[in-house]
Symmetry: C2
Subunit: 151 residues, 2 copies
DNA sequence: GCTTGCCCTCAACCACGGTTGAGCCCAGAG
DNA sequence: CTCTGGGCTCAACCGTGGTTGAGGGCAAGC
């Protein structure tokens, strides 16, 4: 079982897959979409820096709460491209993300409370209720498949 | 401009579209997927009950916070099929939904706080951090396109 | 020198949540 | 009687987020 020649600080795609729990095909996909980067060996194999694990973890965690890959890519693009991101770099990233998350949380809480309130007050029978007349809340949304509002 | 013959308590697809802010094609789609129902006139046109507006509002509100149509259909299937749902019926529905929403809110808050904590404590450099080793939190997820865990 | 395991690319396919367009029916107004 | 504005069906297409499979390369071990 030949382990690919790997300088200790670099990871093969299989190693990243194992350590991150993400399929190799997904890593290829992320690279095509510009969310992660690799260098190539003389024989054209990908090598990832260990920082990639952090990126992938960030991608999955963000995705898990419903943020699109495009938005995640844009966020990651804020990180410095040539030096290894410092804790401070990640802090800046997380600051904008926090706002986004706060908004989403507020939306969810609003829906939850509205559901409860509407039931409580019986207004589900009234068209003036936010729930039954949601354009007040949700606004007009454009075309295309989309399960969540993009940030 | 001929308005279709419509007994005052029934709505055409165009009327539902106008009042709900949802495209006609989406309403057709929802009907195909079993989220809403209609009866047909002698000339094969759909007629929707006014309750459909409530359903559509519920669908959009739920979708807006990232719940899949399949899950919404399952929830709506809890409503009585032959009589008009009472406030009590909607209350039962909203009770299960509330749990679901509470879970999602908790997940979002966890991610937000983890982001902040990890930055604060510098542990983004440690692989033992939840964020950088997310399988502790997120679990293993199956195949297929999915931006959010289905309920 | 062949098998095994890892890697590569490229194209096809999948589910989801719809939209778009072609071709047709039907009713009322001019 | 034709034109117009609803409505109908069905098939094709779109973006997102991937997976699967075919066909091939390279290196280590038997």
């Amino acid at each position: 079982m030949p382990r690919p020649h790997t300088p200790f600080h670099e990871l093969t795609v299989g190693q990243v897959a194992d350590r991150s729990g993400v399929a190799i095909s997904a890593l290829h996909f992320y690279e095509r979409k510009g969310l992660i980067r690799s260098v190539r060996t003389a024989t054209n194999q990908r090598r990832f820096s260990r920082e990639t694990l952090r990126r992938v973890a960030f991608i999955r965690a963000s995705q898990h709460v419903g943020i699109s890959l495009a938005a995640i890519r844009d966020a990651l693009d804020q990180l410095p491209s040539e030096r290894t991101p410092t804790p401070d770099d990640w802090a800046q990233l997380s600051a904008t993300w926090r706002t986004e998350l706060d908004d989403r949380i507020a939306q969810l809480q609003a829906l939850r409370d509205q559901l409860t309130d509407c039931i409580g007050c019986g207004c589900l029978s009234l068209r003036s209720c936010h729930l039954t007349n949601p354009r007040d809340v949700l606004g007009r949304e454009g075309a295309g498949a989309r399960r969540l509002p993009h940030p």
